[in-house]
Amino acid sequence: MKLPKRTVSDEVPTSSMADITFLLIIFFMVTNTFAATRGLDFAVPKEDKSTQTIEKQESVLLAVHPGGRFEADGRAIELDKILDYLRPKLERDPLKPVIIRPDPDASYGDMVRVFDVLRQGKDKGVEVRNISIPTQREIEQFWY
């Protein structure tokens, strides 16, 4: 009996490759999140009572009030004028502490705006080296 000769294809079947890879893409697209992974870093000073000797008179106090109002040493100031206000003071004393003190009812966003302005000072020729954001507990503990 003569058997029919079977020919084996020498091609690798790749037609389903695109389907598989599309499924993988769909998986990654659904599970992937373009998460916000950037922000302003804030080095926390070590809580050491001996270093908490900043005198209010020697520092610049930036107050943040509700409604996006800002004050520098008790006088109302625009956000974009803060660096101009600090420039002469920091030229005299580059290590002058700048204290951000937001009102409890001020928005967090406004506090971050002030912090961002101070951090950007380096690029604008006014490097603020000593930024402090004391918490209410620290203020009560060390200032009063």
């Binding site: 999140t33 992974t37 971050v112 507990r137």
Partner: protein, 143 residues
């Protein structure tokens, strides 16, 4: 004059390069793959200066409604009931890794007193670095 025989157009769509393109897309998604440990919807504050936060940092999120969630950066965030829990969580993270970075993912509209209490908890737990998560400030939004 004898005209040339009409060429029959090939009816097959060439798909050989499809897999290559799709593989490139897969490589892109694999490289950018990032599972968000905290799904809280917040309107982040906008800043001009932004730095990349370290991977696997602990996350503390605060929504506009004041709901606080924490995550060690490796598992999905869980809701905490008060600032004492934030302090306990931060202390535990710092005890495991003294250089652990913390990400504060807070809504820009949250009253500062909430943030103040959280920052205070982190300071008491002796956290070394805190990242205030933000969105990029655009030129229109700068004013």
């Amino acid at each position: 004059m004898r005209l040339k025989a009409r060429q029959k157009p090939n009816a097959v769509v060439p798909t050989a390069s499809m897999a290559d393109i799709v593989f490139l897309l897969i490589i892109f998604f694999v490289l950018t793959f990032n599972v968000d440990v905290d799904k809280a919807q917040v309107m982040l504050p906008k800043t001009g200066l932004r730095f990349e936060v370290p991977k696997k940092s602990a996350v503390i999120s605060v929504t506009e409604a004041g709901q606080i969630r924490v995550s060690s950066g490796e598992e999905t965030s869980t809701t905490v009931s008060g600032y004492e829990d934030v302090l306990a969580f931060a202390a535990e993270q710092v005890a495991r890794d003294a250089e652990k970075a913390f990400i504060l993912k807070a809504d820009a509209r949250v009253p500062y007193q909430t943030i103040d209490r959280i920052l205070d908890s982190l300071k008491q737990a002796r956290a070394s670095t805190i990242y205030l998560l933000s969105d990029q400030e655009t030129v229109e939004g700068a004013g």
